[in-house]
Symmetry: C2
Subunit: 136 residues, 2 copies
DNA sequence: ACTTACGCAACTGACATTGTTACGTGACTT
DNA sequence: AAGTCACGTAACAATGTCAGTTGCGTAAGT
């Protein structure tokens, strides 16, 4: 798979959960539906649980469920929970001795931060409930 | 190095070239200044040459030079030449059978395309000559 | 001829990510 | 109480990407 497979898996899973919010789903079911592995599902959904978007229960009739109403979960929430940012937040060495390079990176970084801010703003405008409605 | 090292190298090199546009530089010099390898420099600058931003000459007193005035080269030109897009342009399998997944990806993709468009717009507002002036 | 410097192909090693196996733990069922 | 179900987590293998490196060819100039 490629780089944004975690995001794909998260969107896909939460989307389906939103259509039937009260039915818990096991990682095995989700994995089968998404064509991947239960452990991978638990890994990805685990980060969403840490972000407060999902709950998980063990044992019989356990599994994963939405922690809030689908109308309260935006695409931005999912994007931010997965922590796959546009900008590589490690600004370690590139300011070593060259003022030109420093100016260059500062300019690009400023633009990128603005862009990411507006990306999040755009993503937070649609909830997963919205998506389910438009998909009919 | 990390993922945007090609962009860093390109920006850095073009920035320095802009301060003295008529002096050709060899890949060995550039590599030494950037702390990398001449072949890597040729790889990266080669893509910029294909995009029409640089020229290269072989033999004695050969090397790399800007193909245009520094005032005509924007950050967007460099970004686009390196082809490191925000969106993974391979929309191969994710629309296989699930209309919900299709709607999800369509929504995210639309937002991402908008965002990238505005990123390019922002980057095209500053030329490398601008950077050299602000770096004094 | 000889040197210089790019062009390009092939290989290596580091690194990240996904997939897989294995085992522990909590919760429910009988 | 025993059994099962499902998550939680660690460890490892498989894969892909990318920078780095070596080597050789080719063009331009001395």
């Amino acid at each position: 798979m490629k780089r944004n497979s975690r995001l794909s898996l998260a969107l896909h899973t939460l989307g389906h959960m939103a259509t039937e919010p009260d039915a818990p789903r096991t990682s095995a079911d989700i994995a089968a539906h998404a064509g991947t592995n239960p452990v991978v599902v638990r890994r990805v959904l685990g980060t969403l649980r840490k972000a407060g978007l999902l709950t998980s229960e063990k044992g019989h009739s356990g599994g994963w469920q939405l922690a809030k109403s689908p109308r309260e979960i935006t695409l931005a929430d999912i994007y931010l929970a997965l922590d796959e940012r546009l900008i590589s937040t490690d600004d370690a060495d590139h300011g070593h001795n060259c003022s030109l390079e420093h100016a260059l990176h500062h300019q690009v970084l400023t633009v990128m931060e603005d862009i990411e801010r507006s990306l999040i703003e755009r993503l937070s405008a649609t909830t997963i409930a919205d998506i389910c409605e438009t998909a009919t």
